[in-house]
């Protein structure tokens, strides 16, 4: 291919003094996720629990109209912290979040390692913190879509269908709890995903690691709980710990008879471990071999 005889023109512009380097990284991560085969379909499917619970909010205000259909299940349709806990701590939602993490997050660092893109990133005026922030925000964007957005949607629908702010008067902290839990679960899952993504140069292995770590922890809980009947084994499971903390943050009854602080400590410990893995695996000094 011949070299184009177009002259090299110097750039006369100025560098952005208040730039936020994590922004282009997050933007690119989101764009590339949407380009993945089947991602849009999976994301749409992940909103299925939201759709069902939104329908629940509507029916809760029309119990008489749906009397035949619900046949005594109206106790599940009381819109209170338990309703929100049922949504946020549901296996279904957590499963879809895991699938989104696999599709949008497994390759976030693994692909950069495989294609040696870290060399290009860190040859720019970019801190490791900026790089990781961009990656965390990519995942958090999708996870908050599945948590924060539905939470506020339910509140809004409740206000619209009931025509009152009674729910807010009874539980004024509920919007904050929804926001707090959404941030906690998005932050935890983002660190969890990125750490496992950084352990492999292959997106598929990283995907397997993500799924295996999540489900194996739950299987271990099932085995030990089945043998010893001790609810403390719930601490072995990532899912159970998330459900415990979700229940407490949303002002609902915890799922297991284990102090929620222990579950919070397990999640915090895993987050610290993920941070340590990331700081070891993502290094600027490795740029030039």
């Amino acid at each position: 291919m011949p070299i184009a005889e177009q002259g090299y023109v110097h750039w006369e512009g100025r560098f952005d003094a208040r730039r936020r380097p994590w922004r282009p990284i997050a933007r690119l991560g989101i764009r590339l996720a949407f380009r993945r085969k089947g991602f849009k379909f999976v994301l749409a499917m992940a909103f299925l629990p939201t759709l069902i619970f939104a329908a629940g909010v509507y029916i809760s205000e029309r119990l008489d109209d749906f009397k035949e259909m619900i046949r005594g299940a109206d106790r599940f349709l009381k819109i209170d912290p338990e309703f929100f806990k049922a949504f946020y701590a549901s296996d279904n939602l957590l499963f879809w979040m895991l699938i989104i993490m696999v599709l949008a997050g497994a390759g976030l660092i693994a692909d950069d390692l495989r294609h040696k893109a870290l060399q290009l990133y860190f040859a720019r005026p970019l801190r490791r913190r900026d790089y990781l922030q961009g990656k965390v925000l990519t995942l958090s964007f999708f996870l908050l879509l599945l948590t924060l957005l539905p939470g506020f949607l339910f509140l809004l629908l409740k206000f619209i269908f009931s025509g009152s702010f009674k729910l807010l008067a009874e539980y004024p902290w509920l919007p904050f709890s929804v926001a707090a839990w959404s941030v906690v679960v998005a932050g935890f899952f983002s660190l969890y995903t990125l750490a496992l993504s950084s352990l492999s140069r292959n997106r598929r292995y990283a995907s397997v690691l993500l799924i295996a770590a999540y489900f194996l922890s739950d299987i271990f809980f099932g085995i030990f709980f089945g043998i010893f009947r001790d609810p403390a084994f719930a601490l072995l499971s990532v899912k159970n710990n998330l459900q415990q903390v979700a229940a407490v943050l949303l002002g609902a009854k915890p799922v297991f008879a284990v102090p929620w602080e222990y579950s919070a400590a397990v999640l915090a410990g895993l987050s610290v471990l993920a941070g340590a893995v990331l700081s070891r695996k993502v290094r600027g000094s490795e740029v030039i071999k």
Binding site: A4, R124, K289
Partner: protein
């Protein structure tokens, strides 16, 4: 002064990678040479601010490499040796992305990406997915991302590795154009000595963490010893042995051309005396220039 390092020392644990390296690089293209383990990569890491030297000071484009590595990286372009890409992107998005990461506003980075892709010869292929690029195209793409933010100084790490002869010539043409006409200074780290000879006016040779030689390439070729090309008629064996005994290094090419390196202080007329004594006619006698290969071999102590 583009690069100025004074007495830089750096160790990886007990292993001393750089030992008292002082370097001055001025305008033009400069080659960075050295055998494996000489400290080239460590020197580049220090210049880009990834490693803090244990001792010594350094400035790149007037910025302190210890205190202001970000300013250095903003003004410097780096083209790595490895094939680096982000799958799922086209060349324009890729190049503008790294412009943005360097601190350019988004729209200007995009505009500039088009310009530099045309400049490196990827204008027609700029919307193709990077996974479909050939080795030569990837090499040009790496050069484009290094140029997108209009650096004042370019670090090129093995810029012609994995290229076919035609691709190599084209990349070298680009490098020559950048360094000689575009007011961008270039530091090229390469094992291919002919690439350095073709593109650089100055050279730094590292060996075992120390500077083995540095300066203007033309001047370095003249240092210490002289190279002569001879053709002789007659029995050349005894003549070559006599020269070797006189501490001259002799190489014979396939077409019987003798390249004789005279040690410092050796009188070239002595060649004729030896030839006369051994009954050999000298039919051709020309002073030649020392090649970079010779210079490299001599300074790092290999044959």
């Amino acid at each position: 002064m583009n690069i100025e390092l004074q007495d830089i020392k750096f160790s990886y644990g007990p292993v001393r990678a750089l030992d008292g390296v002082s370097v001055r690089v001025e305008n033009g293209a400069c080659g960075l040479l050295g055998p494996n383990g000489a400290g080239k990569s460590t020197l580049l890491r220090i210049l880009l601010g990834f490693l803090r030297p244990d001792h010594g000071q350094g400035h790149v484009l007037g910025h302190d490499i210890r205190k202001d590595p970000f300013a250095v990286r903003r003004l410097v372009g780096y083209m790595p040796e490895d094939d680096c890409l982000i799958p799922g992107m086209d060349a324009v998005t890729f190049t503008s992305y790294f412009g943005e990461l360097a601190g350019m506003p988004r729209q200007e980075a995009m505009k500039r990406a088009h310009d530099v892709l045309y400049y490196v010869g990827l204008g027609e292929a700029r919307y193709r997915m990077l996974e479909t690029y050939s080795a030569g195209m990837k090499q040009r793409l790496k050069l484009a991302q290094a140029l997108v933010h209009d650096p004042k100084l370019l670090f090129l790490d093995e810029p012609t590795s994995n290229l076919d002869p035609q691709g190599r010539v084209e990349i070298l043409d680009l490098i020559k154009d950048i360094s000689s006409k575009k007011d961008v200074q270039v530091l090229i780290s390469s094992h291919i000595l002919t690439d350095i000879e073709l593109t650089c006016t100055a050279v730094i040779i590292l060996n075992k963490g120390r500077i083995a030689a540095q300066g203007d390439l033309a001047a370095l070729r003249q240092v210490d010893f002289s190279l002569y090309e001879l053709r002789v008629k007659g029995e050349s064996g005894p003549f070559l042995r006599a020269l070797a005994e006189a501490k001259c290094r002799v190489e014979e090419t396939e077409d019987q051309l003798l390249k004789v390196y005279l040690p410092a202080g050796f009188d070239r007329r002595e060649l004729f005396r030896v030839a006369n004594r051994l009954g050999v006619q000298v039919r051709h006698f020309v002073r030649s220039q020392t090649s970079l290969e010779d210079l490299f071999a001599r300074t790092v102590g290999v044959d």
